[in-house]
Symmetry: C2
Subunit: 178 residues, 2 copies
């Protein structure tokens, strides 16, 4: 009867999303075409449309998975941490550097929230808001700092000789004094 699973996807749709994920991580966003995804499963592109409505839905499923993973990483990081903000920062950078293409897909453009699995974005955000003592403005500023450091690093925008660890520490200690 079609639907099921925590993600709300059919079994076959899950397989498709996982094939897409492999392609994205191994070859980057240009490889993420309906043809290539289908090819990875040994089928033809038109067959995908029996399981997912189109490419937007596929990307939204990838992004939803990304938020769930980020939430798990965050939740593990703050568990028993004496410096939650620092632990979240390390976890965030690490998450992005391990899956740069997924991270870009998650942050590069406006979010189609209507296509996401419900609640995943909020779940990923919660640990940071708590680490900021419930101060939303501080949480947003800290997120912006972390995203900026991360995406500028991924885009190779800092000088090769830059000490990014030192820049992270500089920013973190500034925010910790808030």
């Amino acid at each position: 009867m079609a639907s099921s699973a925590p993600s709300g996807l059919t079994l076959r749709a899950r397989e498709i999303v996982e094939a897409a994920r492999g392609l994205l991580e191994e070859e980057g966003p240009d490889a993420l075409t309906m043809r290539r995804v289908a090819g990875r499963l040994g089928i033809r592109a038109p067959s995908l449309y029996k399981h997912l409505s189109g490419k937007e839905a596929l990307e939204a499923a990838l992004i939803s998975d990304g938020f769930v993973e980020l939430a798990e990483v965050f939740e593990a990081a703050v568990r028993g941490a004496e410096d939650p903000l620092g632990a979240l920062a390390v976890a965030y950078r690490d998450f992005a550097l391990r899956r740069p293409h997924l991270y870009r897909l998650m942050t590069d453009r406006p979010l189609r929230r209507d296509l996401l699995a419900p609640g995943v974005e909020e779940r990923a955000a919660r640990p940071l808001v708590e680490a900021a003592g419930g101060d939303q403005n501080l949480a947003r500023a800290a997120w912006a700092f972390a995203h900026g450091m991360t995406i500028l690093e991924l885009n190779g925008r800092f000088p090769p000789a830059a000490d990014l660890g030192a820049a992270w520490r500089e920013g973190l200690s500034a925010f910790r004094r808030s």
Copy 2:
């Protein structure tokens, strides 16, 4: 005799870059095709290749112009400012919100520095490094914060009800204490 002008482009190449700029700002990155750029000048796409080597060169010229404009905006902002960091922040956000498509083009991906007009990136960076008292790590962290706030705003990633002015102030006051 081809070359001339501060940008190192021929007169005709300058006109092409300006047509491209108008297209980018008015219709966004998808409109930035060689056909559309040529069409804006009343000519055909292949004619562009007599003046510019290709699309990468065209984009690099747009980005170079963007850096020059950003440098000018920064230099005006710090002139006689009692709070240089705050003035730069306002100028930065304003620059990006006024030309969101150009800002994205400038920051979204790895920079082809070999195609840029010489020195433009450094000129734009200088006022911030000076406002940070020459502390490169602080300057990088502050840039990351500003870029994060800006690009997340452009991407519509903050809740509609979020008070972004408050988040900017929160981050700025944190960095000012450094």
